[in-house]
Symmetry: C2
Subunit: 205 residues, 2 copies
Amino acid sequence: MGRRNEHSREELREMALEAAGALVAEQGFRGLSARKVAAAIGYTVGSLYLIFRNLDDLILQLNARTLDQLYEALLTTRQDCSAPRDCLLALGQRYIEFARQHHHRWKLIFEHQLPPDQDLPPWYLERVSRTFELVQSQLQALAGPRSPRELTLAAHALWSGVHGICVLSLDEKLDLAGHLSPEEVADSLVAHYLEGFTASGPHSG
Amino acid sequence: MGRRNEHSREELREMALEAAGALVAEQGFRGLSARKVAAAIGYTVGSLYLIFRNLDDLILQLNARTLDQLYEALLTTRQDCSAPRDCLLALGQRYIEFARQHHHRWKLIFEHQLPPDQDLPPWYLERVSRTFELVQSQLQALAGPRSPRELTLAAHALWSGVHGICVLSLDEKLDLAGHLSPEEVADSLVAHYLEGFTASGPHSG
C-alpha cells in the first residue's frame, strides 16, 4: 500500500477506472467502494483521492467511459447502414446488445445520482448529447425539415422507449409469459413510431 | 413486542403490509427490512414470519397491492374516455402520474427480484396481465382485428416505452437540457406509435 510514487497520476487514474469498471461489472453498483478500488490497485484510499475529488467523481468518469464505448458502438452501427429507417432500427438493436453485454456498467449510468446540489459537468453532458445527435441526424434524414425541438422530442421518445424495453427485459420484467424478445418489441416500437412520425409531417410534434 | 394474540392473522397481515408500504414510500427499497416492519407494528420478526413465508413473500404482497392500485387508477381513466386513441394517450399520462405519486412503491415492483429459482406466483401474474388487458382492449378497438400476438406486442411496446420515459424522468436522466416533460415525450411516443400501428394493417406486427 501507499506506493504512490510508482505510477504517474495518469497511470493511477487509468488503473483506478479499470478496477472500478471490473468491480461494477462483477458485483454491480453495490459492489463499488473507494476502499475496494484502492485495494484492487494496491494503493490507499488517500492516494485515490489525490486523483478523484470523491467517489461521485470517479463514478462519473467511469460512466463517461461507458458512454464513450456506447457512442463508438452506435457510430459503427450507423456507418454500416444507409437508409435512415434501417439505421434507426439498427441503432435500437445495438443499444439493446450493448446493454446486455455491459449490463452492470450500463445500468450504473442510470443508477448513479449526484447529490441534489450538484450538476453534471459539461464534459459529461457533451457525451450524452453527441449520442442523441446520432439518432437525431437519422431522424432528420428520414423526415425532412423539422424544428430542432421536434427532432429532440422524437429522439427522446425513441431512446426512452428502447431504454424502457432494455430495463424491463434485462431485469426480466418484460413479457412475463416469455413469448416476446426485447429485440422484437424494440423493432415494433421504432418501426411504428417512425411510420407515424414521417406520416405526420413537419410541426405536428 | 411479542403480542401476537392481540390481533388476528388477517389484521397482522394488514398492519405489516401497511407498515412496509410506508417504509418504502419514505426510504425506498433499501429502507425495507423484516426487522423494521416488525418494529413498526410492535411485533417480533418471528411473528411476522408466521404470516409471510419470508421477506420476498411480503414484498410480493406489497407489490400486488401497488399493482391493484395502479389497475384501479387506469380503470378509472379508461372509464372517463371514449375514443380508443384518446384512452391510450390518457392511460400513458395516468401511468406517469401514478409513478410520480407513488414513486418508491412503484419502483419496488421493478427493483425487487425473486431468487433465480423462484417463479412469480399465479395471483401476482394475474394482476400484471389484467393491467395489460386494459391496454390491449383499447388497441383492439382502435386497430380492428389483429392476432393476439400482435396486440400483445403492441401493448408491450407502448407500455415499455412509457415505462422507460417514467424511469428516466423520475431519476432525472431524461432531457438533461430540461426542455421536455415526460408527459410530452409520452404523448409523442403513443401518438406516433398508434399512427404507425393503425396504418400498417393487420398481420404486419
